[in-house]
């Protein structure tokens, strides 16, 4: 019999029932909740007189609407200026209280972006099924967990039944072999993958990221990659379990206790694709060839290496694609042939569930250290992914590096990733952003988003326009790196 992929193994471990029509009931081990996609689900439960199936799988935290300035945060929910946002956060609090669901509230040190909080708490573990009413739930696949983004009806379904109705996906493997160049990061890998396969390239697939370049990444790097699987169209991104995974989880609050630790680790070690496992599709990339990436358009697939030029619509695929490129350039205020490094910036955002973990902040801080944000930049902000990331960064003195360089140092939340709170772009403003979506209006009405890595965002803040981070103190970064690892 042919071997099984990691996805196949996770699927069969959670299969409750196969139905005649080809759908299946899949058991869910962890359900993460936030304020935006849950209120209608709780309301649905209440209307139908239903109760959550199992309480201890649920963990909630508000993230999308929370303000990120200290002044507002000091007042808790009352500090949320927009009354509609405040009601949404209060509704989450009320629902969690009345249904008995554990929640890290707005000013709990453990609060943060749900996809940062789950792993950081050890609430995301290998071999689990993890769902959340948020498409970036793919992030948790970095642990060898089967993680899906779901809609609100499914949030209600999981609460009520502990299951999800699914159809098995196809298997895709993205192999990235070789060594990344200096200053090139996980974010650049995933943007390069999306550039190669397109935003619909992964539709219908679970993508497993494999190869030596993936193995060499930290858990933070792997999370960045799986996080953006959805931007390649795949609901699920995966990385096989190895020592890095196990070490990351050791002694996290929700991790298996002493009593079960060894058994759990033995179980997790099986969570790799068998050597002879068949994939429906394999995509290969050479890590050494990946340049720091910058998106120039309004879809994550509209991406290029920092040394490249903005493309010419006339040379871009079929008519539908050409129209898309023209429209994107018009919206972005760019013209064909323009050097990426000539794009002038107004704002810089370092944060989001893609790049707001401690390692991301360290990378950005290395570039920012001893330098100043360019005068032409109106706002450069760093928003840690959780209260605990913030605390850790402050212990390492990263906050001081950022503040001295002229960045703002904020409280944790989604912030300008989608601009549901007060942090947003104005019309026509260009932003170097470490987030995951550059859709029209995503970061504010008429705002122009360029997706980049944390190091590239920090370098752009210093220069006022995009620069190749490799020409920009990458050597210094490399030296610092060895120190960090030794420490």
């Amino acid at each position: 019999m042919a071997g099984q992929t990691l996805y196949d193994k996770l699927w069969s471990r959670h299969l409750v029932k196969e139905r005649d029509d080809g759908t299946a009931l899949i058991y869910i081990d962890r359900h993460l909740l936030h304020e935006v996609t849950s209120p209608q689900a709780f309301e649905g439960l209440r209307l139908a007189g239903r109760k959550p199936w199992r309480l201890d799988t649920n963990l909630a935290t508000p993230d999308h609407n929370v303000p990120t300035t200290l002044k507002e945060r000091a007042e808790g929910n009352a500090g949320i200026v927009d009354p509609v946002s405040r009601i949404q956060v209060e509704t989450l609090d009320d629902n969690c209280t009345s249904f008995g669901i554990e929640e890290f509230r707005i000013n709990d040190a453990r609060q943060g972006i749900v996809h940062v909080v789950g792993p950081e708490q050890g609430a995301t573990q290998p071999g689990m099924t993890v769902v959340c009413g948020d498409s970036h739930t793919a992030t948790h696949g970095a642990f060898g967990a089967l993680a899906h983004g779901i809609g609100t009806s499914e949030v209600e379904h999981v609460l009520a039944t502990q299951c999800l109705i699914q159809r098995k996906m196809k298997n895709m493997q993205v192999r990235v072999e070789g060594e990344l160049g200096l200053g090139v990061t996980a974010k650049d890998i995933v943007l390069a993958v999306i550039g190669k396969i397109g935003t619909a390239g992964g539709t219908g697939y679970a993508i497993e990221f494999a190869g030596s370049a993936i193995r060499d990444l930290s858990m933070e790097g792997r999370m960045t990659i799986c996080n953006m699987a959805i931007e390649a169209g795949a609901r699920v991104g995966l990385v096989a379990v190895d020592e890095t995974t196990v070490e990351y989880l050791r002694r996290r609050p929700f991790a298996p206790s002493e009593e079960y630790w060894d058994a759990a680790v033995a179980d997790w070690r099986e969570l790799v694709s068998d050597d002879d496992a068949p994939f429906d599709k394999v995509v290969e990339l050479d890590a050494a060839e990946i340049e720091p990436q910058v998106t120039w358009g309004t879809s994550p697939e509209m991406v290029a290496g920092v040394g490249a030029q903005v493309p010419d619509p006339a040379a871009a695929g079929d008519e539908t694609v050409q129209r898309g490129v023209s429209r994107a350039l018009e919206y972005m205020g760019l013209h064909a042939g323009q050097q990426i490094t000539d794009i002038q910036l107004d704002k810089v955002f370092i944060g989001s569930c893609t790049n707001s973990r401690i390692e991301d902040l360290r990378e950005a801080a290395k570039v920012a250290k001893g330098r100043k944000v360019a005068d032409s930049i109106q706002l450069a902000m760093v928003v840690p992914g959780s209260g605990l990331v913030k605390r850790q960064a402050e212990e390492e003195g990263l906050d001081k590096i950022f503040l001295e360089a002229g960045f703002e140092w904020r409280e944790p939340g989604c912030s300008m990733c989608l601009a549901m709170n007060a942090d947003k772009l104005g019309t026509g403003e260009h932003c170097a952003s470490t987030s995951n979506r550059n859709f029209e209006g995503r970061q504010g009405y008429g705002g122009r988003t360029h997706l980049v890595s944390p190091a590239m965002a920090a370098a752009a803040a210093i220069a006022g326009h995009f620069v190749d981070v490799r020409d920009f103190g990458a050597e210094r970064a490399a030296n610092d790196d060895s120190q960090v690892q030794e420490a």
């Binding site: 996609t37 009806s153 039944t161 619909a200 169209g233 929700f254 129209r323 989608l418 995503r442």
Partner: protein, 215 residues
């Protein structure tokens, strides 16, 4: 869930690939804790020339005359003709809620994003996939002929054009069944409560650490 069996409606062609969920319903409207009332803000950034905010009276907002849904000939449209990868982006169910609230019942495109596809069916919308060439042809016909309507029969899995041409489409049998009957997924799944219970017992035995809380 609203039931769907057969629908005849005016077609609005939206000629744009990769329409994402931020375009379908911008984030400022996701703050609502209700499921209804999103229709006036469907495609907000394309439909209006100013920036929208929740709770505003849309009657006085300047309309973008170039946007397809603002054109007189498409008023009352209930079938949306779209391009590839429609609904990409976030998992927000507010996207299908807004489409439904606006009055759409059917969306036809060469492909849809996965999560959106799922969400749409759970809200009584029928999503139909035809190959690019067929969609192209429907675009040409709908643009050429004012009052272009399609007759969509879910039971027979057929779309009939004004000229009488019949196009058949594929639909997942479970989704079809739920739409035809207007069934609620949760009720159906709970019929399998015993199977879930059994699975849970075995799962707990095999992997007890999955059933513990933080200490």
């Amino acid at each position: 869930m609203r039931q769907f069996d057969r629908h005849q409606g005016l077609v609005a062609p939206m000629d744009r690939a990769n329409v994402d969920t931020d375009l379908i319903i911008p984030k400022q409207f996701l703050k609502s804790i209700k499921r209804t009332g999103f229709g006036p803000n469907l495609f907000d950034e394309l439909r209006y020339l100013d920036e929208g905010y929740p709770g505003q009276d849309v009657a006085n907002r300047p309309l973008n005359p170039d946007f397809v849904l603002n054109q007189t000939r498409y008023q009352g449209a209930s079938v949306l003709l779209a391009r590839r990868n429609f609904g990409c982006g976030s998992s927000r169910e507010h996207a299908p809620w807004a489409l439904e609230d606006f009055g759409f019942r059917v969306i036809i495109a060469p492909s849809f994003a996965d999560i959106f596809f799922n969400n749409a069916f759970k809200n009584g919308l029928l999503l139909i996939t035809f190959d690019e060439a067929t969609v192209d042809r429907l675009f040409r016909e709908a643009e050429a002929e004012e009052g272009y309507r399609l007759d969509v029969d879910l039971e027979k899995q057929q779309v009939t054009t004004p000229s009488g041409e019949v196009l058949t489409f594929e639909v997942d049998s479970f989704r079809k069944h739920c739409l035809l009957e207007g069934l609620d997924d949760i009720g159906l799944t709970l019929k399998d409560a015993d199977a879930i219970d059994d699975f849970e017992k075995r799962h707990r035995q095999a992997r007890p650490w999955l059933f513990r809380q933080a200490g």
